[in-house]
Amino acid sequence: MRVGVFICHCGSNIAGTIDVAKVAEETKKLPGVVYSTTYMYTCSEPGQEEIQKAIKTENLDRVVVAACSPRMHELTFRRTVAKAGLNRYFFEQANIREHISWIGTDKELNTNKAIEAVRMAVEKVKLNKPLFSSSFKINKRVLVIGGGVAGMQAALDCADGGLEVLLVEKSPSVGGMMSRLDKTFPTIDCSICILGPKMVDVAQHEKIKLYAYSEIDEIKGYVGNYQVKIRKKATYVDWNKCTGCGACMEKCPSKNSYDHFNFGIAPTRAINIPFPQAIPKKAKIDPEYCRQFTKGKCGVCAKICPTKAIDYEMQDEIVTEDVGAIIVATGYSLIDMEKLPEYGGGRYPDVISGIQYERLLNASGPTSGHIVRPSDNAEPKTVVFVACAGSRDKSIGIPYCSNFCCMYIAKQAILTKDHIPDSQSYVFYMDIRSPGKGYDEFTRRAQEEYGVKYIRGRVSRIYPKGNKMVVRGADTLLGTQVEVEADLVVLGTAVISNADAGHMAEKLHISYDTFGFYVEGHPKLRPVETNTSGVFLAGACQGPKDIPASVGQGSAAASKVQALFSKDMLESDPAVAKVNINACVGCLKCVGTCPFQAIKEKELRDGRIVADVIETVCAGCGVCTSTCPCGAIQLQHFTDNQILAEVNAICLK
């Protein structure tokens, strides 16, 4: 066995707090190590050439690189050794940067720790076996979860690339948050005017199959071969018959249904089409408001409907689809105003959220674009905007910035002036965050051209006084308290993850952070990938994002899927469980514990029963290996012996 060890300086990242020369010299003494050296940047091209050269000249058959985290460069170096003719699994990486040089201050201790880290890697690599991946066919259909702007962009890009796309949208229409917006910053162009065409494309594209008002029930399988159960929620309207004429909506007697599309700023009917440009433009019934369901009698819509599309008996329908990749674009939610009691907690009708105000501004909104206060439908002359309503507030568990409130508040302030020329807007802000192209100019325009008064400070309380709302806050620049008597108060409510984001992540086996936003593969270098191959992220489900960022991610995710599907076969990860049939006693405990049903029982010619692994289904978790009492089923590359070698390397003295 001839092991070569390469210790990386990583500039000063490692060499700064670890005596790399000493590590090289000490590790040279290890049994099996015939070559040990250091290099400034091992991951650089010359660095990799160094390794390949050494493999040739020293005819190494195993390689250990002590550098950054294997999660960073394992694949890089596997390719390196493979190019030099070694099996790519004859490589181990010791993490002496993230786990040592960056977290330890004492150079002597760090160096010693690094030496032991290398020793562990050496002991393991000596037991590494050559592994060869088998390839399997992939299903070139892609599932996009979420029909917001990010999801639609992803779906369209995939479809234009010739892929079959399933687009699953939870609400009755695609369009997401953007379809609710009036104008978009910083260009002030009409949101639905630029989004509408995309929505139509989605509906009409022959490669896209749209599941509106549907949810994901279950996801099984692995990259290239997923089986997805989609729940088509009961609309109580046969969408094949519904023409979207809206007659039912006009005649529906229960007029106080909560309007999800308008965020309850105005009531809607129990049977409704969310908005004029809805795609698909079909009606659906909200049973919790529909008299047919609540009182058991009504049936007006059924009578009125010209195509007899109403079906009160309709049930949810489950359809199963096979796909090869999944793009998650489930978007975001906004914090409930009840979480902000000092701002009235939703008790005052004239304190509304930004998205509700957006609906008031919108020509296709409940007020046809006339700004009126909910309490008395009067036109407000003084409008106060409160930025960071919940955002950057540790006390309610939202320490992060919601990213786009500063901008849409500036936009709304400007639009307010356009709608009501004799109005005056105030904005309470903590900091103005406008780092995008043309963004800062935009917020300046709001102040300079539109005379919006920006007050730097937080609002401590909002309370009614007569028919006005008094907004009291600090002006940290003047160092005084300020009180503004407003006709209408708009809260830039914090962006939060969807309530069911966690469950969705569990279905997808992807991880999410403390706030419910999905975790990307690498914060900088793998922004739309997840740690689960075949699952990609787009839009605000990964963190608060404005439109351009979401669209960008949608396209990025799509291109990732295109790349994945550019091959007909996928290489399976050979680090899967393997059964030693001579040792297996056929107790089949592994069959029961395998999370993926990847183990079946097999009868040998002599009639003996043994366990048998389905390679492409095995995900390589190793639960079977730790279940098997006789060590007959071993997870390749993480066998008992390999892990024991590491344990002994640091424990045996």
Partner: protein, 318 residues
């Protein structure tokens, strides 16, 4: 006489099975030994007395595909139920001849008492006393004094599962807590004392693997990782830590599976309390998952399943 009833019972089922497993006389009166009968003629050799200590059900998994009739005491019947839980036998292939048992005899205890003199004769009286005759004379023991410890707290004198029951069921007045009183007591000892205790016990181990071979639940047989190189869990070195490791392997592989038949301790030549660790784990399994090995056929051994929300497991703080 019970032996007669037993032989009749066996005769009753023998034609339906390939083999009957029961006890016959061993090399002397003090030793009974398992017998495997394939012809009716052998039935007359069958005996039953408190010296029939072996857990005959241990042989069942190796005979999975055959039709077997087996003699089972109360404690042995738990083994069968555990086999069923783990799918190691097919119930329909097994005919269980249950036999209520008021306690067996620890041959070792007798041998010590008669300091290993050759036994000439053994007799039992109706009170359950045993009289052993050697060249040095006769000695009579009451069952209580010479029975294995497991019998003293036996909760299952009558088999939990059987097809034929020979003799009348026996009620037990022992409770779960009785059975684990010694474990609880040991847990209250100071921690250093506990470590010293086990080091003392395990240090005596000669790695003969008798405990493992006698264990009905040790399914691995020849593939036991105590002896393999791949995986290479322990070396053959006779160091304390290697011995300790062996017993940990044995204990953890039986976690939530040990039916406490006591075979491991019966066969240990060094009198190591091998069963103690497993019984401790059983105690925890009962607390955590309300699970007891080998009492119902439907249960699933706790180490091979889980609940998404484990109400009984509290997250540990440092």
């Amino acid at each position: 006489m019970i032996s007669q009833k037993l032989q009749d019972a066996i005769a009753g089922v023998s034609d339906k099975v390939d083999v009957v497993i029961a006890y016959q006389q061993g090399f002397d009166k003090l030793h009974a030994t398992p017998c495997f009968m394939t012809t009716p003629e052998e039935i007359k050799n069958v005996i039953w007395n408190p010296l029939c200590v072996h857990n005959l059900t241990s042989y069942l998994p190796s005979l999975k595909k055959k039709k077997v009739a087996v003699l089972a005491k109360g404690c042995d019947s738990r083994t069968i139920l555990q086999f069923i839980q783990e799918g190691l036998i097919n119930r329909e292939n097994v005919t269980i001849i249950g036999i209520p048992c008021s306690g067996v005899i620890s041959v070792n205890k007798i041998l010590q008492a008669i300091n290993h003199e050759p036994v000439e004769d053994v007799s039992f009286d109706e009170k359950g006393n045993i009289t052993v005759k050697t060249s040095k004379g006769e000695k009579t023991f009451s069952l209580q004094d010479v029975c294995p410890d497991k019998c003293k707290t036996c909760r299952f004198p009558t088999p939990i599962v059987y097809d034929v029951l020979v003799g009348d069921p026996i009620e037990s007045n022992k409770t779960y807590d009785d059975a684990y009183a010694d474990i609880k007591e040991f847990e209250n000892k100071p921690i250093e004392e506990r470590l010293k205790y086990w080091e003392g016990e395990f240090d005596r181990c000669i790695r003969c693997y008798a405990c493992r071979n006698a264990c009905p639940m040790c399914v691995c047989q020849d593939s036991c990782i105590a002896e393999t190189r791949d995986p290479h869990w322990i070396s053959q070195r006779a160091t304390l830590s290697e011995k300790f490791m062996f017993h940990m392997i044995h204990a953890l592989h039986l976690a939530g599976r040990c039916v406490e038949c006591g075979e491991c301790e019966r066969v240990c030549p060094m009198n190591i309390p091998v069963n103690k660790l497993k019984r401790k784990i059983n105690l925890d399994m009962k607390e955590l998952y309300n699970y007891e090995p080998g009492v119902t056929p439907e249960d699933k051994p706790p180490m091979y399943t889980f609940n998404v929300d484990e109400v009984t497991i509290k997250e540990h703080k440092i």
